[in-house]
Symmetry: C2
Subunit: 366 residues, 2 copies
């Protein structure tokens, strides 16, 4: 019984074959459809949990599970380590994602979750902005120009006719390289002072690694009355990006309310101040259309449904293109009641001789 | 940055090279040492959580995390599906285990957890029985003769001079095949009626898939005053194997108290009736030696520390023997701020041409 493994090579092949823009288009289309059809009775998404630590460095390792009843469960493991880029030349977010058969418990597949996280976080903002931002939004402001900032602009460019992107990062080197990293979008990118960015953005994306207690990442000054904000940096209790006063005058739409009140911008709000969730606004887009002319915030903490949808898309492409490796991972004996039979009986191997010799010497320092 | 994958082939090679008995000896020795040296400040083990379901079949898919501060985290995923042997020719427990670097979030390795679970569950009972059972225990009773029953007898045979095993299973075919499955131990195995098993066993192991609400799996009749019970079937809220009256007159030692009160035999007890945990009795074996002459119960719900210890042992052997496959799983760009660079720039590939063509047609039914 095999486990299919999709590595970075497979995802590279998919992206090169399909094209990054059509791939993002499909992510957005599938996520939109999944939200429109979402039924909470069929799908269980517990709030994610994990290990948080501040020593020796700030970090987080968490699991995001989702189960489709009677079908499969998907668990994304996400590492959030803001010192990664500078200290290790690694992305802040590293991730893998696994799918299990809920009938047998078998691990169906394992895939990279790092590329997937960038795609789905972008796609989620695109779907939310489609229903909550002004339809003619032409200027996107990006605060926090790392990896997630790139896929935010990418995804938004697929659903709006963007004239330009205004960008800001506390690290000048990161904001300087953003234009090169998004050159494939053919959208003019301008590093600007933060006040100008706030004044001119129809859609604002915050994708920062601001420390707990150090937020918000901008002041409530000069924002257009119709601004839509995608706050995607939320992933840690106490971490916030958006000023409370902005949230209070906006329609705040969390992706996953139970999680948003623990880790998202909704931490700053009382229950009555929190608006409808993403499923609700996507299912009833016409009803919420008037909100597009007012201030809105998508509180994007990251929802396992987004991971599931994009994983399924990538698996579809991999299947179509004959990608992926198959490994017999789990030790399964022919007799399910014998945990050791797989050892004695294997094709082409001689029968096992039992030994009662002294323990094999191993290196204990490992 | 590679991820090492250890499959069933690797574990077969390890077991054949080392020998099953020396391998179990090492599991027991390492677990004993880990418990003796355990410091709750260095190691965090949250209570496991997961998806439980009763439709279409009873099942459970859960995650068991453990973190060594500043070092690594290990998450075992365990599926418990009692219909597996009969309906799918698969073991009840299927499992995989992953190790993460808590500095970067990188997935260091992935391994089969099915063989590992059998080894570590056996080893845990051996370590507990060493300190809680009579030193001259010669008769082991096994109630529930599936895969875990095999490794229970195996592990106990490494720390006691066993004269015979008395066995019982509600499925006669399963109890009949037990002698064949444990032939490598050279211990006489007798299927006996349950009352005889209870009367004659110095050590009793319950390793059943009894349904919630259908336990206990034996009556409180005829047990020797000095009996030690390893109750290893506990893995589901409401599932119990041991009569409450037996627990109440015994020293009940849970592996992991916070979990045992939710899923173990300790569900049946008030806090004052629960004894010292496994760490406590192993660290203070001399102090608890008098208890060996009285009734004792090891409430083995399964603790992630056991998984960590046995995973490290198997990794040591794999390293020594040059086993395992290395895959670049996570999509990591040379520029950590660019989630897509790994797509454009890869050795031996032409530069990527961006496309704005219509979305690639994919099969949506998948």
């Amino acid at each position: 019984m095999d486990t299919v493994i999709l590595t970075t090579n497979d995802f590279r092949a998919i992206a090169r074959h399909v094209g990054l823009n059509p791939l993002m288009d499909e992510c957005i289309a599938r996520l939109r459809a999944a939200l429109q059809q979402f039924d909470a009775n069929d799908t269980i998404t517990p709030v994610r949990a994990g290990f948080e630590y501040t020593h020796p460095e700030v970090g987080l390792l968490e699991w995001m599970p989702i189960m489709q009843r009677g079908e499969k469960a998907v668990v994304k493991m996400v590492g959030y380590h803001p010192a990664n880029p500078e200290r290790r030349q690694l992305p802040t977010i590293l991730s893998t994602v696994s799918a299990y058969d809920t009938k047998s418990g078998h691990l169906i597949g394992l895939a990279d979750g790092t590329f997937l996280t960038a795609l789905r976080t972008g796609a989620a903002s695109a779907v939310a902005s489609e229903v909550l931002a002004v339809p003619d939004a032409g200027v996107v402001g990006i605060i926090g120009c790392g990896a997630q900032g790139v896929s935010q602009l990418h995804a938004l460019s697929r659903v709006f006719r963007l004239k330009r992107a205004l960008i800001y990062d506390i690290d000048p080197a990161v904001s300087e390289s953003f234009a090169r990293r998004t050159a494939f979008l053919n959208i003019p990118v301008y590093p600007v002072p933060l006040p100008q960015l706030l004044l001119e953005s129809d859609i604002l994306c915050t994708a920062t690694s601001v420390e707990v207690g150090k937020g918000p990442v901008f002041e409530d000054r000069g924002l257009p009355a119709h601004v839509h904000i995608n706050a995607v940096g939320s992933d840690f209790p106490g971490k916030i990006e958006v000023p409370r006063s902005v949230l209070q005058r906006s329609l705040v739409c969390p992706d996953f309310p139970a999680q948003a009140v623990m880790e998202g911008e909704c931490q700053q709000l009382s229950p009555g101040e929190i608006g409808p969730d993403l499923v609700e606004v996507v299912k009833n887009a016409a009803q919420y259309a008037p909100c597009r002319r007012q201030s809105t915030v998508f509180d994007s903490t990251g929802w396992a449904l987004e991971d599931l949808v994009v994983l399924e898309l990538l698996i579809d492409y991999a299947t179509e293109l004959g990608l992926g490796q198959r490994l017999a991972l789990e030790s399964i004996s022919r007799d399910p009641h014998d945990p050791y039979q797989f050892i004695y009986e294997a094709e082409g191997l001689p029968p096992l001789e039992f030994t009662t010799a002294a323990p094999y010497k191993i290196r204990r320092e490992l």
